[in-house]
């Protein structure tokens, strides 16, 4: 995974002489102490982390945590008071005015919380703005802008004005406008928090869809834990200007760095974060289709289970065989292949617990988890699903007897 953005010791301080507070930050004084001593507000406090190419990196925090300040450092709408930000190896904090203009025009585009649309321009004129200021010929920029208007599903609205569109549509315009510049990096400052929940949900899915197709690096700001964990490949949690923890949603839920984060993620809907692969158990008993029934019975006896999955030579799932069927089969001298039941529920590794719950309730056998090649990688018992929703560490939930 290549690193696209390196944030190194970035601090942003607001006040009359921001630089003067930097030594205090370096000494490790808290935000309150610095405010008291120097009357300067620390927006971002010595942040260091990397952002990988093509990932959705979410910066999460409550209002006043410095997340909007931090995101504005990436395109220098806020110039960091101290520290460096390397964008593909180039330190943008040391850019000249022209270099910065180039970076903004070609590498990085931003979507705003309240859309930041130009109300005096039509949708088309809004979307082509980025190209217009780069002096791209009219025909060409029209064409690119129209493509992007289509991408966000606003075809037919290009001659309307922003105030004639609903909030959700306006934010689509914001997104199209950002995409038109074909940036490597997309900055999104709470883009969906001004929208109502249904539209927000829809936009999140659409964003992931666009991300899948275009493979942009997305830096996404939100105060909503559920949103952060739903769309983020990795999440940074901020508090009072500090970046408290950076990690994948699973890592953060599994081992929160401190009490604040535990508190923060208390309300998270775990069923929408944890996937089958996180709660499944690796199969310790397996029967290959070429093995006989005796092997199957032995496996089940040894492991104390009442049914066992049957796979082919390359571990592709064939079905399940129960102990009763197997014993009956031995008596009647049937081959294993005749006794395989195929009425099992198969799920993929990526399925969320949320989607597994109904399946686990309906199925009379454990859920079989397969990977992309249809190979069996694990199984999930009903009790796994439930413990996955509550336990602090899901891997510890082994106290079942099947």
């Amino acid at each position: 995974m290549t690193v696209q953005i390196q944030v190194q010791n970035v601090s942003k301080i607001f006040g009359s002489k921001p630089k003067s507070a930097i030594p205090l930050v370096k000494k490790g004084l808290s935000k309150e102490e610095i405010l008291k001593k120097t009357n300067h507000t620390v927006g971002v406090y010595n942040a260091t982390f990397d952002i990988h190419k093509g990932e959705v990196f979410v910066i999460m925090g409550l209002s006043g945590s410095g997340k909007s300040t931090l995101i504005r450092c990436f395109n220098l709408l806020n110039k960091p008071t101290d520290g460096s930000i390397f964008l593909d190896g180039q330190d943008i904090t040391k850019c000249s005015r022209d270099e910065l203009k180039k970076v903004r025009q070609e590498k990085i585009a931003m979507v705003f919380q309240h859309f930041g649309l130009f109300s005096h321009r039509t949708i088309l004129a809004n979307v082509e703005y980025g190209l217009e200021i780069r002096n791209v010929p009219k025909e060409k920029r029209r064409e690119i802008a129209m493509q992007n208007i289509e991408t966000v599903g606003l075809k037919g609205y290009e001659d309307k004005y922003p105030d004639e569109l609903s909030g959700g549509m306006q934010q689509r315009v914001g997104l199209a406008r950002a995409l038109t510049n074909d940036p490597d990096i997309l900055l999104m400052d709470e883009p969906f928090s001004a929208l109502d929940p249904l539209i927000r949900r829809e936009m999140q899915l659409e964003l992931l869809d666009i991300q899948e197709r275009l493979q942009k690096t997305i830096i996404f700001i939100t105060h909503d834990v559920n949103e952060a964990f739903r769309i983020g490949d990795r999440v940074a949690v901020m508090k009072d200007g500090h970046v408290e923890q950076v990690g994948t949603p699973e890592e953060i839920i599994a081992s929160p760095a401190n009490d604040y984060i535990s508190e923060f993620i208390k309300d998270i809907d775990r069923s929408k974060v944890f996937q089958a692969s996180h709660i499944m158990t690796k199969p310790n008993a397996l029967v290959s289709i070429k093995d006989g029934l005796n092997v199957a019975v032995k496996e089940m006896r040894e492991n104390g289970i009442s049914s066992v999955f049957v796979v082919d030579r390359s571990r592709r799932l064939q079905g399940i065989v129960t102990i009763d069927d197997a014993i009956q089969g031995i008596k009647e001298n049937k081959p294993l292949s005749d006794l395989i039941r195929e009425d099992i529920t198969v799920v993929t590794e990526e399925e969320y617990i949320n989607d597994l719950i109904p399946k686990a309730l309906e199925s009379s056998f454990p859920l079989a988890v397969v990977n992309e090649e249809q190979k069996l990688v694990g199984y999930i018992l009903r009790v796994h699903v439930l413990s996955g929703l509550t336990a602090d560490d899901v891997s510890e939930s082994k106290e079942y007897v099947y």
Partner: protein, 287 residues
Amino acid sequence: MLMISFPDISFEAGKYIDDFVSFLADNLSALFDFIFFITSRSINGLTDFLMIIPWWLFIIIIFLLGWYFKSLFSGVLYGIFIFLIGTFGLWEEMMITISIILTAVIICLIIGIPLGVAMAFNKWVSMILRPILDAMQTMPSFVYLIPAIFFFGLGNVSAIFATLIYSLPPVIRLTDLAIRGVDKEVVESAHSFGSSRWQTLSKVQLPQALPTIMAGVNQTTMMALAMVVIASMVGASGLGEQVLVSINRIDIALGFEAGISIVFLAIIIDRITNGIAEKVQRRGGNQ
């Protein structure tokens, strides 16, 4: 010894100003002549142009403007107003007044909008201009009529000069206010795409600020109109001159006719510029 009366210390500030004005008049006469030439030419040209327009066509134009920017009723009303001014025998005077006001307003915009923008962008400019603007608005107008005569002699140009000083502040102030009032995120989004300063100003900030700037234009126009009588004291012709004449002759009839004509003009100009402001409001950024 009680210190009752003010001590015998004198600082003749006025004298220095007097010297300064004389100095300017003596040394920069070429510049003032140039300004005089340009301004008087524009006023005369404008008056001549307005006078070529047949009276009925002019009434129709006013009617259409009123209709488009306000309502059908307003259009008819404004047409009647103009017709009435004609019946008072003040048609030519009205045209002169309109051209003086138009010239003054155009000069105000040419000077005022860039100054307003400069104020919005630079706090030093703002700090320096603010008290000057206050002085321009509160200084009794008669005071600067005198240097106006010094520079430009009696006539319409001096009138324009005096009108400018009085009516320039609103457009400067409101342009400043309008530019600073443009939604922060909208300006940020312009920056985030790598706009240059000029691009941000011309493509985003000015268009977004237009409704408020138009309110300033309306104010400036009204203040210019308010100056027509005072401006007549330095020789401006037009409706204001008629008011002065009526005062000298104690001619109530003429005074009323000229006075009500000014009121009519004020109503028409205010409503139409207001209508323009409202039309641009719809797409503007800060309402």
